[in-house]
Subunit: 228 residues, 2 copies
C-alpha cells in the first residue's frame, strides 16, 4: 500500500485546516515530498485546497454530489444513489465490425466485435440506453448474465483487464427510432449522448460506448481541480 492511500484513509473532516506538510511528515513518519504527493491527489480530487503561505483547507463536501466524470459503472452509481434499478439486455451479438466500428476499434483481420445493447430502468422508467462494443480479441466470451450484472466488474475482476482512461464527448441529439422504441420517451424530444472510447493501459482501444440518456435523468457533475 502506498503512502498516498494511507493518507486518504484518515479523516480530518472535523476541522477546516490540515496540519502543515512538515507536521504531517513527522506524524506519518514519511518525507515531506511524499506527503506533498498525497496532498496533491486530495487536491486534484477536490477534497482540499492548498494555499501558499497558509496551509491546506479542507473543502466542504456535498455528500449527494458525485463525480460522473470518472469511469464509473452504472451499477456503482445506482448503488450510491440508492435507486431502484433494472437492466434489460436487449441485444448480445458477435459480428464483423462495420465501417464506423472499424475506424474506432481498429480490430485485427477477421477479429469479431461484441455488441451489447442494454436498457436501464430507474424507478420504473426506461431512461437510459447503453450500446457497448468490445473487441473479441480482448473480451473473449460474454454472457447475458454478465451483461445484466456488471460488465466492468467482469472485465476487471475476472479478465484482469488494465483499463486506463476514456475520451468522452457529450452532445444533445434528436432521438432515433431505436431510442423511442426502447426508452420511455413520451414528451421528450432530445437525448443526451455520451460517447466514450476506452483504452487499455498500453493505449490500445478495446471498447466504444454510447450511453443515451433521457434529458431529465441526465446530470454531469465535475468537482475535480485542474491545477495543483
Amino acid at each position: 500500500m502506498t503512502s498516498e492511500k494511507k493518507m486518504k484513509e484518515n479523516d480530518w473532516r472535523e476541522t477546516d485546516m490540515l496540519p502543515s506538510e512538515n507536521e504531517l511528515s513527522i506524524m506519518y513518519g514519511t518525507s515531506r515530498e511524499t506527503i506533498r504527493k498525497a496532498l496533491n491527489l486530495l487536491s486534484q480530487n477536490g477534497y482540499i485546497q492548498k494555499v501558499r503561505g497558509k496551509g491546506s483547507i479542507i473543502l466542504a463536501m456535498d455528500k449527494f454530489s458525485f463525480p460522473v466524470s470518472g469511469i464509473a459503472s452504472f451499477k456503482e452509481l445506482t448503488k450510491m444513489l440508492d435507486m431502484q434499478s433494472r437492466t434489460y439486455v436487449q441485444e448480445l451479438s458477435l459480428a464483423k465490425a462495420d465501417e464506423a466500428m472499424r475506424k474506432i476499434l481498429d480490430p485485427a483481420e477477421e477479429e469479431l466485435v461484441w455488441k451489447v445493447v442494454r436498457v436501464r430502468e430507474l424507478d420504473g422508467e426506461k431512461v437510459i440506453l447503453d450500446k457497448d462494443y468490445f473487441k473479441q480479441g480482448i473480451v473473449n466470451s460474454l454472457t447475458k448474465d454478465i451483461c445484466e450484472d456488471s460488465i466492468y466488474a467482469y472485465l476487471e475482476q475476472e479478465l484482469h483487464l488494465d483499463i486506463s482512461y476514456a475520451n468522452k464527448e457529450i452532445t444533445v441529439e434528436s432521438p432515433t427510432e431505436e431510442d423511442m422504441e426502447l426508452m420511455d420517451m413520451t414528451g421528450f424530444s432530445n437525448v443526451v449522448v455520451i460517447k466514450s472510447i476506452v483504452h487499455l493501459n498500453n493505449t490500445e482501444v478495446f471498447q466504444y460506448t454510447e450511453s443515451r440518456h433521457r434529458p431529465d435523468k441526465f446530470r454531469f457533475v465535475d468537482f475535480a481541480r485542474r491545477h495543483g
Copy 2:
C-alpha cells in the same frame, strides 16, 4: 519559469515514444523527479500515456478537439475554433443579492452583486445566453466595454484575481421565457445549462455563472486522464 513549463514547449510529436526519464533528465540537465512531475502533467492533460517497463507513449491529438472542462473563456474558444462571433450585453446591473444568490455567493452585509447577462452570437445565430454574478467586494467596477470584450481577461490581467477552480454541473432543461426571447430557439425544445461556482485561491466564492446553450451548439469534450 519552472522546468515543467520548459518541457511542454518542446515538440516530440514526430515520434510515438518519448525518451526515457533518465535520458530526459540528462538532456534537460535536471533531476529525474522533476522530469517525472513534468511527464505527469503531460499525462494528466492527455498528451502522453506512461507504461511501466516500457516508456511514455505520445498520444495522437485531434487538433479540432479541445477541452471545455477547464476554465476557458468564450473569447478564447471562438478564437480557437475560428468562428464568427459577437457578444451582446443585455443587462449590466448592481443590486442586492436575492435569496438564491445569497446562498451561493454569501456576500457580506450590504455588499452588492453584479449581474451580467450576455447573448452570444455564433455565425449569425444567437445560441448562448450567459448569466454571470460577481460579488462587488471583489469586482469593484465593471463596464459594458469590458463585458463585450472578455470579463476574464479583465479579472486576471487588470484586477490580478487569483482564480482557482470551478464546480460545474451540466443538465438539460426546458427553455425559460427569457431563453426564448433572447436566443434563436425556434425548433428547439431544450437548453443545455452549465452552472459553475468559481472560487478564488483562498477558496472564497466570487462568481456564479449560468451558461445556457442551444443544444445543437453544445459539445463537451474530456480528454483528461484521471490517474497517472
